[in-house]
């Protein structure tokens, strides 16, 4: 059983080797992007070049958001690296609304300071000035994403998610069988780390609210078990391995419990709440239909889930302490896999749209449904922590690929895995904690 499983344990997620740009991202922005200038960052250090081209990381982040159009370097009339040298007249002439200047200063063998300033060209004023001391070569990309997040938030009023991560599962043909991998990468596809590998299926990854752990389902030994794995150490423990279905884990907002699906020997899938420390389970639903895919509301009061108690699958919710479930979705014959936006205002799901399985979002106040994706077989929607973007899996030929879409449906991007294979079940991490 153990030999069948190739388990990449104890790798140390943040210390493992880095494969560059494993996901290639293709943007299809349709909104009117704001022109901005990110001036090439200055470099003061012993080597001829800075360890990472910080301004390019920031440019790529802003471009990929679909909301910004960074001007090319050859259009710039000046290239200051310090705010004191910015000439607003010049930038006004170039036609940008905002300018970013900055530099990286080496302060030790593997110690750097990254600083940047953001200016409003028309208002002729500084909007952000920020310095990050004690950056290392390993954390420089993260620091650049953090700068991009601050710029994005200042200019849009929406919190940036460039510093977040995504987890997903890939399946590849390997000899007669398949190799399943659970992967964590930066949200731009860089820094792919395989945190678990198996010849048996891996399913349903879920982030803990502190983004330090992932829960997932593994079929190693041809039986379903739910594991919780700590990313930094690679250590994992089984939290549920009962007869029949052990599936669909999702953390409670306080991180102490999981909502899971248990089927039992008689195979009646129901929603249960599992206390992670004591391993005690409380059964929340008892209907003989399929009840699965439970997820907590951000306030912790409700559990939303999929049930086919009325025939086809629809979304219901039940109080997290138990009670009578109430139906939430009524539009269409198939609504499954609910996920709430972190601000609690919207519900994402897989919705059958005239024979196509697509990602739809329901405004919980107005109850209207907006179909966001255009594929035939789209699945596994997951909100970014700013509630403004979703990631999901779609088909490209025989393989699954990842796409993101803004919650208003206007900006869609494709992420094609360079490593190949069938990519599925993306889940967006919570905000990192600095």
């Amino acid at each position: 059983m153990l030999s069948k499983l190739r388990y990449i344990a104890l790798m140390g997620l943040f210390a493992a080797t880095v494969s560059q740009a494993d996901l290639v991202i293709d943007v299809q922005g349709v909104a009117q992007p704001t022109p901005v200038a990110i001036v090439p960052f200055g470099w003061e250090g012993t080597a001829p070049d800075m360890p990472l081209d910080v301004s390019t990381v920031i440019i790529d982040d802003l471009k990929r958001s679909g909301r910004f159009d960074p001007v090319s370097e050859d259009k710039m009339l000046q290239k200051p690296t310090d705010g004191a040298d910015v000439d607003f007249q010049d930038w006004s002439f170039v036609g940008v609304e905002a300018v970013v200047v900055g530099k990286v200063v080496q302060t030790g063998d593997d110690a750097y300071t990254l600083q940047f300033q953001l200016f409003d060209v028309f208002g002729r004023r500084q909007l952000v000035g920020f310095r990050m001391p004690s950056i290392t070569r390993a954390t420089m990309r993260g620091a650049a994403h953090r700068a991009a997040d601050m710029i994005y938030e200042k200019l849009t009023g929406i919190k940036g998610v460039f510093g977040t991560k995504v987890a997903y599962v890939t399946a590849k043909q390997q000899g007669d069988g398949r190799l399943y991998s659970l992967i964590v990468s930066d949200q731009d596809g860089f820094n792919e780390h395989t945190i678990m590998e198996s010849n048996d299926p891996i399913m349903s990854p879920a982030w803990s609210p502190d983004s330090r752990q992932l829960a997932y389902v593994s079929f190693e030994g041809s039986k379903a078990s739910i594991f919780v794995q700590t990313l930094r150490t690679g250590n994992r423990f089984s939290v549920s391995s009962k007869p029949g279905i052990n599936g669909a884990p999702s953390f409670s907002p306080d991180g102490r419990k999981l909502v899971i699906t248990l089927g039992g020997v008689d195979g009646n899938p129901d929603i249960h709440v599992l206390d992670i420390n004591s391993r005690r389970t409380t059964r929340l639903t008892t209907h003989r239909a399929i009840d699965t895919e439970g997820t907590w509301s951000p306030d912790g009061r409700y559990i939303y889930f999929t049930s086919d108690r009325s025939g086809g699958p629809q979304i219901y919710r039940v109080s997290a302490t138990g009670g009578t479930p109430e139906r939430v979705t009524f539009e269409g014959s198939y609504n499954a896999r609910p996920r709430l936006s972190p601000d609690g205002s919207r519900l994402a799901m897989v919705h059958n749209d005239r024979g196509n399985y697509r990602i739809a979002v329901m405004n919980l106040e107005r109850k209207d449904l907006l179909v966001l994706s255009t594929g035939r077989q789209d699945e596994s929607p997951s909100f970014a922590p700013n509630s403004d973007i979703l990631i999901y899996a779609t088909r490209q030929g025989r393989n699954g690929v990842l796409e993101t879409v803004s919650a208003d449906g206007l900006i869609r991007q494709k992420m094609a895995s360079r490593a190949g294979g069938d990519v599925r079940e993306p889940v967006w991490s919570p905000f990192p904690r600095f």
């Binding site: 399913m203 041809s222 999929t306």
Partner: protein, 174 residues
């Protein structure tokens, strides 16, 4: 034809081993189907047909030549009429051998959401389990697992691919 030749060769060898008798009647021409003149009697060749043809399938000694997979209609967990005999034969085998165990692996096609499809695969495995139990198989002999859409046998997205993936497999672990 080959078997006649073999018989003839065997006869010849035993003849040689027995030593050379004095007055032997020569063997008739083996290619003749009738001989001995017109007596009103006739003989007929015996055709073995396909008795020695065909091929073995499945490598599970405890299950013999029983079919190991049954298929399901779209959105259905009902065992089709043509598969009920197969389930009955598994039931008989399990009933006659209380020491062996079967794992029923339920599968779904790729449409829709993955964990819901785990539920659909389990429902199919349970339909077969119920049928086995009604026919006297002990509850301890049966386990179920649903792989949902995670282990397709056909990787395309046509109706034919889907039909091949909606299935329950009988697995007899060693």
């Amino acid at each position: 034809m080959m078997s006649y030749f073999k018989l003839f060769a065997l006869a010849a060898i035993s003849f040689l081993l027995a030593g050379c008798p004095q007055n032997t009647i020569p063997d008739p021409d083996p290619t003749d189907t009738t001989y001995g003149g017109d007596t009103g009697a006739s003989t007929d060749g015996m055709d073995d047909g396909d008795l020695y043809g065909g091929e073995s399938f499945g490598d599970d000694p405890s299950a013999g030549e029983l079919g190991m997979i049954i298929y399901f209609d779209f959105d259905s967990s009902e065992v089709r009429a043509q598969d009920q005999d197969l389930v009955a034969r598994h039931a008989m085998q399990l009933g006659n051998n209380p020491g062996i165990r079967v794992r029923l692996e339920g599968h779904a096609d790729e449409r829709g959401s993955r964990e819901y499809n785990i539920g659909l695969g389990e429902r199919r495995a349970q339909a077969v389990r119920q049928m086995l139990m009604i026919q006297g198989v002990s509850v301890d002999q049966i386990s179920t697992v649903s792989f949902g859409e995670e282990r397709p046998v056909s990787f395309g997205s046509s109706e034919d691919d889907y039909a091949q993936n909606r299935r329950v497999e009988f697995t007899y672990p060693n």
